[in-house]
């Protein structure tokens, strides 16, 4: 408590640390936290609790669309068994998108940090500028880009390398959309950690008998790992829960992700509320568990 009083009163005049001052100092930090805590309580904790109770509700027999309060854990079981392919697809598509985004983002971030010179600002604007238009619009634009008569699909068809003959309404379109939409979230953290790296440390690799590739593998890449971890999390987590890309670029059958199922259970299927809530919680738990394992494995706190 005294440490808190100290921290709170630290900004004030050193002479003014009487008992009154110390008392005010002790509750001041909590007062400053209050708006944020209230916000979280009202808009995060309360809906979460509400959603959890919904996920355990049972259908009222004979009254479609009506539920009663219950502890019906079978909702989770049916959510998992019935929609297992969608979970698998979500994780697979998000994983693929994260992988492709990493492959595209790392060279881009590297070029921006070390090679761009005066073009660095322009490149930065090019990466951020798409955010000025709506996420939906940009995704719809991808339908044009990947359309059957579009340049991409016809070129690939001409080369006979496109299985099935089209890109839209396939998993490729969904993964491409996810990769595109979350690319900046991969580029920016990697760029930040590369840009922060002391160029002398990379020179030291060369000075100590490591050639260009070895220096990259043993010095540059490990030094940028905090950015890589942040980037993969920022890409994977929202991509796994995304439904817009699958909705706009995918097909009705083979590319639906969990997000789409949750959306349709909530808004289209009568009586789907408990299942949708159970699906939401299951997805959250799955992602939390994966992130936990990932961070434990590649722990960030040891870096820098």
């Amino acid at each position: 408590m005294s440490a808190l009083a100290h921290a709170g009163g630290g900004g004030g005049h050193p002479a003014a640390t009487g008992p009154d001052q110390a008392k005010r100092g002790s509750w001041l930090p909590y007062l400053l936290l209050l708006p944020g805590l209230l916000w979280l309580a009202i808009f995060f904790v309360a809906p979460l609790v509400q959603l959890f109770t919904v996920s355990l509700q049972s259908k009222l027999k004979g009254y479609p669309g009506y539920y009663y309060r219950d502890l019906n854990f079978r909702n989770y079981w049916s959510a998992l068994t019935e929609f297992a392919p969608h979970f698998g697809r979500s994780l697979l598509f998000a994983g693929l998108a994260t992988f492709f985004a990493f492959c595209l983002a790392y060279p881009l971030a590297y070029a921006m940090a070390f090679k761009a010179g005066k073009w660095r600002g322009v490149m930065m604007i090019c990466i951020i500028a798409p955010f000025f238009t709506s996420f939906m619009l940009r995704t719809i634009a991808w339908r044009q880009i990947l359309a059957d008569e579009g340049a991409v699909a016809s070129t690939l068809n001409f080369l006979h390398v496109l299985p099935g003959g089209r890109i839209t309404e396939t998993w490729m379109a969904v993964v491409a959309g996810l990769t595109y939409n979350f690319l900046p979230f991969m580029v920016l953290p990697i760029y930040a950690s590369l840009e922060r790296a002391d160029p002398r440390v990379i020179e030291a690799g060369g000075d100590l008998y490591a050639n260009g590739f070895t220096t990259f593998r043993t010095v540059t890449l490990p030094m940028s790992m905090p950015g890589v971890i942040a980037g993969t999390l920022l890409t994977f987590i929202p991509a796994a829960g995304d439904y817009v890309n699958a909705e706009l670029l995918g097909s009705d059958r083979s590319t639906k992700m969990v997000g789409n199922v949750i959306e349709s259970q909530f808004f289209k299927v009568p009586g789907g509320f408990p299942i949708a809530a159970a699906l939401s919680f299951t997805l959250m738990a799955l992602i939390l568990a994966m992130v936990f394992v990932y961070i434990r494995r590649f722990g960030t706190e040891e870096l820098l």
């Binding site: 002391d198 002398r200 440390v201 020179e203 030291a204 690799g205 060369g206 000075d207 100590l208 008998y209 490591a210 050639n211 070895t214 043993t218 010095v219 490990p222 030094m223 790992m225 040891e302 870096l303 820098l304």
Partner: protein, 393 residues
């Protein structure tokens, strides 16, 4: 490792020029550093000393000229192909590796089976074996500096480059590390090239000092000889402090040149003067000058002056005086006498010195103008120089 060039012998820099656009950072530099010596490149920031070092390391390539170790031409080879290692100014330790892995990095790249054992031996040499499993961020500046030295030394390079390695340390630690580095150099017997802007550091540590300015070497030699006889006005003021007076050679008297400095006649041994006729900058070191109330007899060289400031430092007293030409000279006098002469600003005094201590440097292109700015300019050009300069402020 493929491409690695074994080379043994003296380091030779042959008429090397490095240009960045129109600017010549290093200008036709030729230099031989004998194998096993401790060599210091001394100069103000921007004089080209770090660029020279980076060219030896291979981190920059010369625009013109060659760099050799022994008979092996290293010009154009990559840093990892050279038997040269660098201790960077910012230490540049690998933040993601432990101290031991940092030190073992070089040996591992060269495929040494006993890399970790070599690393531990190098850590013993810098007296840090107990910190081997820490990360660099957990070390103090002085400890990081030692790790950086160990990481370079463990490779037993033919030439070890030190780029202002003590710049970030506080004064006490810097003194300690100066002694330490000198001990290590003596112990391992490698060629050390130490780049610094601290003239005292260069003089205490190095066998040979080269003073650089504007991409060229102004003077090179053993520290004591260079201090005793600077050959340019720049060196006279960068290495220690000098009282300089613009004058004209009027006559010759045996082994001495007779110089007229604003009406005062002084003498310089002709062997200690870089010019034998015409304009000259006459110089004498502050501690070689004595100060008197009355004109001394039988000394040989003297000049009248007015006291500007007196600062008592304990072992010595520093006087700032204005000579009749208007220039400010400083006199650094040890407090040897039981009753020191009690001088106040405004007193008329006489300065005298042994003419054998005087020197003459060319007056053309002299960078330090004669005038009252002299003492303060010498100080501001080098904030970390010796106590005499710091006292002048």
């Amino acid at each position: 490792m493929s491409g690695f060039r074994e080379a043994k012998g003296d380091l030779e820099i042959e008429s090397v020029t490095k240009s960045f656009g129109d600017f010549n950072a290093v200008d036709d530099l030729t230099l031989v550093v004998p194998r096993g010596s401790f060599f210091a490149l001394l100069g103000p920031s921007g004089c080209g000393k770090t660029t020279t070092l980076r060219m030896v390391a291979g981190l920059e390539q010369p625009t013109l000229g060659r760099i050799l170790i022994g008979d092996t031409d290293l010009t154009g080879s990559r840093p990892y192909e050279r038997p040269v290692n660098t201790v960077f100014q910012s230490y540049a330790l690998f933040p993601h590796l432990t101290v031991r892995d940092n030190v073992a990095f070089g040996p591992k790249r060269r495929g040494a089976k006993n890399a970790l054992q070599l690393a531990d031996e190098a850590l013993d040499l810098v007296q840090l074996p107990h910190l081997a499993s820490r990360k660099p961020a957990q070390l103090s500046g002085g400890q990081q500096q030692r790790v950086a030295v160990a990481r370079a030394l463990v490779n037993r390079p033919e030439v070890l480059l030190l780029d202002e390695p003590l710049g970030a340390l506080d004064l006490k630690l810097r003194r300690q590390m100066q002694v330490e580095l000198k001990r290590i150099q003596t112990e391992v017997g490698l060629t050390f090239i130490h780049v610094t802007h601290d003239q005292e550091e260069a003089m205490t540590m190095a066998d040979t000092v080269a003073v650089m300015n504007h991409g060229r070497i102004e003077q090179m030699g053993p520290p004591a000889a260079m201090y005793d006889l600077p050959v340019t006005a720049f060196v006279a003021n960068f290495v220690g402090q000098s009282n300089l007076g613009r004058g004209r050679i009027t006559d010759r008297d045996g082994d001495f040149l007779v110089v007229d400095v604003h009406g005062s006649t002084v003498k310089v041994p002709h062997r200690r003067s870089q010019v034998q006729s015409g304009d000259i900058l006459f110089g004498v070191r502050p501690e070689k000058v004595r100060i008197h109330r009355d004109r001394p007899t039988g000394v040989g060289n003297d000049m009248a002056a007015t006291v500007l400031d007196v600062s008592f430092t304990g072992v010595a007293t520093q006087y700032l005086v204005t000579v009749d030409s208007g220039a400010t000279w400083s006199v650094y006098e040890q407090n040897l006498d039981v009753e020191p002469i009690d001088l106040k600003p405004g007193d008329r005094v006489w300065m005298s010195w042994d003419p054998g201590h005087a020197f003459g440097v060319p007056a053309e292109n002299a960078e330090v103008p004669e005038g009252p700015v002299l003492a303060s300019e010498a100080t501001s050009s080098d904030p970390s120089s010796g106590p005499a300069l710091q006292d002048a402020q």
